[in-house]
């Protein structure tokens, strides 16, 4: 689909649904997402918000309909729980996705230092993840996603465990990087009002699928 600016959609979902085991089907979801979009996704618990994000990320395969991702779409995902490797230090956790993406080790190290500095975690680079507070771990989760220079950033209720200051820090980081890189941001949240200054569109998930 062509957007208002004439750009092609980075990600398109057409009646995409997911089947879990033999029984429950979640979806169908539909929507087009363009470069620079900041879409906030809301919905009641169990409406399939995380399933929708995992479908967008390519972590789930659509059982029905289609999901079209632009070729080579680099995707960052801020998981609801940080999912840091507990046996790797904070800096390694941030660096590993970059190394996996083929970034040169020296470049990855420099980028990691910059991101840790921006996130106020410079002094925590050598810490083990289990020693971090919830807010710090969530910021590492975010900069790990930002480190690979994603064109699509998916955030799954990233602020639910944070206090106001922590939420503000994370939002600033997302907004700064998103704006600079023309990133498409899709954020699932229960508190859309906190993102009102940043969002370009909102999407509410009902029990029977998505509506923009």
């Amino acid at each position: 689909m062509i957007g208002a600016s004439g750009a092609n959609a980075v990600l398109s979902l057409r009646d995409a649904s997911v089947r879990f085991g033999q029984g429950k089907t979640v979806g169908p979801f539909s929507g087009d997402f363009f470069a620079g979009d900041f879409v906030v996704v809301t919905g009641e618990s169990g409406s399939g918000k995380t399933t929708f994000l995992r479908l967008c990320a390519g972590l789930l395969t659509a059982a029905g309909g289609s999901v079209d991702r632009s070729a080579g779409l680099v995707t960052g995902y801020v998981f609801q729980e940080p999912r840091l490797l507990p046996w790797c230090r904070v800096s390694e956790n941030v660096m590993l996705p970059m190394l996996a993406a083929g970034v040169d080790a020296a470049e990855a190290r420099a980028r990691t230092e910059g991101l840790l500095d921006e996130a106020g975690l410079k002094d925590s680079a050598a810490q083990w993840p289990l020693t971090l507070s919830g807010g710090m771990a969530q910021r590492v989760n975010l900069i790990r996603a930002l480190g690979i220079g994603p064109k699509l950033l998916l955030l799954d209720e990233p602020f639910s465990s944070l206090d106001a200051a922590g939420r503000s820090k994370m939002l600033d980081l997302v907004a700064r990087h998103g704006r600079d890189a023309g990133m498409t941001v899709i954020c699932v949240t229960h508190y859309p009002e906190e993102l009102s200054g940043f969002t370009t569109r909102s999407m509410a998930l009902g029990a029977d699928g998505a509506a923009i």
């Binding site: 995707t75 999912r83 507990p86 046996w87 590993l96 996996a100 083990w128 289990l130 020693t131 690979i148």
Partner: protein, 260 residues
């Protein structure tokens, strides 16, 4: 009183209690040796320690010990490598795991003595037989614990690795192997204890040298203090390997979890 007063220093308390447990065992041994004195059943701890000292100050004693130690090391290396590699492969591929299930079942249920006898027929007596037999006995322990570890790997971390396109080698090195260290540390203790046991068993039956052969000779000549001295050396060897090798390894691999 000392034990209860040192609740603030758990490592000292642990050492003290372990030492007291050892003293208790020696005391029971001493009492039993007194009861059966002169009946060629059980030598006293003093006779045994005196013989042990004699063995440790003789070249032949050290040569005998060295041969067994090398065989134990070779068996741990070979059995560990085979078990670990097959375990990683089977952990990554469910199909391979099913394919290897009969082999695992056979190797874990076959009586060790029959394996020694068959290995003697195929390999003759000597180091080949001992190392081969011990490796065959150890590999399934490592294999089973590796697979158990794979089953315990957090799916959410694997999903993260998938999302960030970790290569297979990065996934193995950064996700699977660190996650495997906890179950494998437990397996390592089991492997070391069993390595000494099965190596001695194979040497008793199928070797002309090594501690097992010395035990067999001492048994046939009714030299009970020598027999018990070698048993004591085997016990001390396991204890040394456990505390000097496995302990530091375990502490190093788990330092991230202790940091909290």
């Amino acid at each position: 009183m000392i034990i209860w007063k040192c609740s603030r220093c758990p490592s000292f308390r642990r050492l003290l209690l372990t030492f007291l447990g050892g003293v208790f065992l020696v005391f029971v041994w001493y009492v039993l040796a007194r009861i059966y004195a002169g009946k060629l059943v059980l030598p006293s701890p003093f006779e045994t320690l005196s013989t042990l000292f004699g063995l440790l100050t003789s070249v032949i004693g050290w040569q005998t010990f060295g041969v067994t130690l090398l065989r134990v090391g070779a068996a741990i290396f070979a059995g560990g490598a085979v078990g670990l590699l097959l375990g990683i492969a089977a952990g990554l591929s469910q199909d391979l795991r099913w394919f290897l299930e009969p082999l695992r079942w056979v190797s874990m249920s076959i009586p060790p003595i029959t394996v020694v006898v068959i290995a003697m027929l195929w390999l003759g007596v000597g180091s080949g037989l001992v190392v081969c037999f011990a490796s065959v006995m150890l590999a399934p322990i490592v294999y089973v614990n590796t697979i158990k570890g794979f089953d315990l790997v957090d799916d959410r971390l694997l999903e993260m690795a998938t999302l960030y396109r970790f290569s297979l080698s990065m996934r193995v090195r950064r996700v699977y192997i660190p996650a495997l260290t906890v179950p494998l540390s437990a397996a390592a203790v089991q492997v070391v204890c069993n390595a000494v046991r099965v190596t001695l068993l194979a040497e008793v039956i199928g070797s002309n040298n090594g501690m097992g052969a010395a035990i067999s000779l001492a048994n046939s000549t009714l030299e009970l203090p020598t027999l018990f001295a070698w048993i004591l050396i085997a016990v001390l060897l396991v204890g040394l390997l456990e505390s000097l090798l496995l302990g530091p390894m375990q502490r190093r691999s788990e330092k991230w979890s202790k940091a909290k």
